[in-house]
């Protein structure tokens, strides 16, 4: 019980710090520009690419609209993935190299795991704002077809939370590994993010892959997350064959939930192991940027 209280206080303090770091560093106006306009700008690039590259050669008007909704929704939720895969990595590397506070935080009587997760949580909140804005922009300006039935809201939130926990766990794994590596090693995170972007059905249905590609897709839990999100949020896109259609939603949820539990467990042990190795190698407060 005392331990839970401690973790709770760590969580609050670290989240407070995270919030100060993310929101305080510029004026509110710049903060708004950064967190609102940036995702929209990124989306506009995608929209443009779609119009120029894909649009002319592809089916009729209605089909076009559905395909566009498909990739738009996928892309909006991918903001979470991009944010969380790098979030914990950034916290650790920032504390280590830039603020050089890592040794002071590390020797405090707290769970360092709770600390980094809490720091990353504030980044998650900011990512949520970006996702909501991107979706609203899509619906009201670009005519993206989103229809969330009121009765589906609990299901949607469940899917959302399970997926976010899973993505965060992957972020913890990558962050833990970065404990042992230097700052410039973010290539690993970028590759993972790239693989997910390509294979998880973010922009196009995985049925467009040859068999081996689909095999990779099905091995990554995120694929099921995007599928589940689209089923509740943009049912129209179900017309596009994703090759996952035959999996019913209940099974989909089960796959999501169990893979997330596994990911959380793995992340905990990877983080503990990396922490131990880093302490043995003496690299916890290593500074590489001279």
């Amino acid at each position: 019980m005392a331990m839970i209280k401690r973790h709770w206080k760590t969580l609050k303090t670290a989240a407070w710090l995270g919030w100060q770091m993310e929101s305080n560093w510029t004026q509110p106006f710049l903060f708004a520009v950064y967190s609102i306009l940036k995702p929209i700008a990124a989306t506009m690039i995608l929209v443009l690419m779609y119009w120029v590259v894909i649009n002319p050669g592809y089916g009729g008007q209605a089909e076009n609209a559905i395909m566009f909704s498909f990739l738009y929704v996928g892309n909006a939720f991918y903001i979470f993935v991009g944010q969380m895969l790098f979030g914990i990595f950034r916290v650790i590397q920032g504390d280590r190299e830039w603020y050089q506070t890592i040794r002071n935080v590390y020797i405090a009587p707290i769970s360092y795991y709770v600390y980094v997760v809490a720091r990353a949580l504030t980044q998650l909140v900011i990512a949520s704002i970006a996702v909501v804005i991107t979706l609203l922009f899509g619906v009201f300006v670009l005519g993206v077809q989103i229809s969330l039935a009121v009765t589906d809201i609990p299901l949607f939130l469940t899917i959302l939370v399970i997926g976010l926990v899973g993505v965060s766990a992957m972020g913890v794994i990558l962050g833990g590994i970065s404990f042992l590596t230097a700052k410039h090693m973010h290539g690993m995170n970028e590759s993972v993010a790239g693989i997910f972007y390509l294979f998880c059905g973010v922009l196009f249905p995985i049925s467009m892959f040859p068999v081996w590609g689909q095999f990779i897709s099905r091995a990554i839990p995120l694929t099921y997350w995007f599928e589940a999100l689209r089923r509740v949020l943009a049912p129209e896109t179900l017309q596009i064959p994703t090759s996952l259609t035959q999996i019913d939603t209940g099974l989909l949820m089960l796959i999501l939930l169990s893979s997330t539990i596994v990911l959380v467990l793995v992340s905990y042990f990877v983080f503990k192991g990396a922490d131990y190795l880093a302490r043995r190698k003496g690299v916890i407060d290593m500074i590489t940027s001279y």
Binding site: N104, V105, I107, A108, P109, D285
Partner: protein, 335 residues
């Protein structure tokens, strides 16, 4: 006896990646793969003691502090802090310690000095109100009160260092590790810190300080006991008084001369316990310190210098200091 800190045959080896060029060469002392930072260290720091680790650059002082503050694991041997093993029971140690490093200017630049130290106090479960009061008191002590509400990025290096001291003491630790706390601070600030640390230990019976320094004077005036450490080995460990006694019967001769080509002749003179030399780059003169057991050696030393046709600029015989203890043990000057 409960020791605040105890180490038993403590060793720490760092593996070093050798560059490609070095790998082709024969391994020598400089490019070997392993650096032995601590070599069989046995120390015992009593509760309530102000204990000093004195040693030159690279002696292993920071490494020892890192192990004791649970930032680094030993390679071999064991260490206990507040009775808990550093490799096994980190949580209970962390509850009782804090650590400040003089060279550090760490912190979150966007937060104010006060927010920075407050945040750390929360990790130690200090009630927020208490923490704020303590912070203000400590900021006053270290002369940072006026700047406590400034963003940390606007503070100077020395001011950040003082903020580090506030961070260390705000959690009211039982044991605090101070790694060269006055490094780079001006004379006045250094004095304030030394005074504060000394008072803190004296006023609280059970508070322990382990401090590293390479300033002799600091160790001599501040510490109850001092361990002299060089190349990872503890050479002696005693009160400054007793350490000085070991060289009391001998005397110290300080010479300032034009540099010699060859200093090895001094080694053959009987009656010299040890000596150190360094060249002062400003005057380009050689500064020699001899620890002498037999007064007859003095004339031999002088004849070596004059025999080379060199001038003697200054010659002094002095009372032994801790520095002389170091010279007699290591054959090198500390600074």
């Amino acid at each position: 006896m409960n020791y605040a800190v105890e180490t038993k045959n403590l060793c720490r080896v760092f593996k070093r990646k050798r560059s490609r060029k070095e790998r082709k060469q024969e391994p020598t002392k400089e490019n070997q793969k392993e650096v032995v930072a601590l070599d069989d260290v046995n120390i015992q720091v009593k509760e309530g003691e102000l204990f000093g680790l004195l040693g030159p650059n690279g002696a292993g002082k920071t490494t020892l502090i890192k192990i004791l503050s649970t930032l680094l694991l030993p390679t071999k041997g064991e260490a206990w802090v507040a009775g808990h093993n550093v490799a096994e029971d980190t949580f209970n140690i962390r509850m009782k310690i804090n650590s400040v490093s003089g060279g550090e200017s760490s912190g979150y630049g966007l937060l104010t000095a006060r927010e920075n130290v407050w945040m750390f106090s929360q990790f130690y479960d200090v009630p927020s109100k208490v923490a704020k009061q303590r912070a203000d008191d400590l900021f006053k002590t270290f002369g940072l009160y006026e700047k406590r509400n400034q963003k940390m990025r606007t503070l100077s290096t020395g001011e950040r260092q003082k903020m580090g001291m506030v961070r260390g003491f705000i959690t009211d630790p039982d044991i605090i590790f101070l790694d060269e706390p006055t490094l780079g601070l001006d004379v006045n600030a250094s004095r304030v810190i030394r005074r504060f640390v000394a008072d803190w230990v004296r006023e609280h019976e059970k508070k322990t300080v382990l401090l590293t320094t390479h300033y002799m004077m600091e160790a001599e005036e501040l510490c109850d006991r001092v361990a002299i450490i060089d190349k990872g080995k503890v050479l002696v460990c005693d009160t400054p008084e007793n350490l000085k006694k070991t060289v009391r019967r001998s005397s110290t001769l300080r010479l300032e001369i034009d540099p010699l080509k060859d200093y090895s002749k001094f080694r053959d003179i009987p009656g010299i316990r040890n000596f150190s030399k360094k060249v002062n780059p400003e005057t380009n003169r050689s500064e020699l310190v001899f620890v002498i057991d037999d007064e007859a050696a003095v004339s031999d030393i002088l004849s070596v210098v004059t025999g080379e046709g060199k001038r003697i600029h200054e010659l002094r015989k002095t009372e032994p200091t801790l520095e002389d203890v170091f010279v007699s043990l290591v054959g090198r000057a500390l600074e």
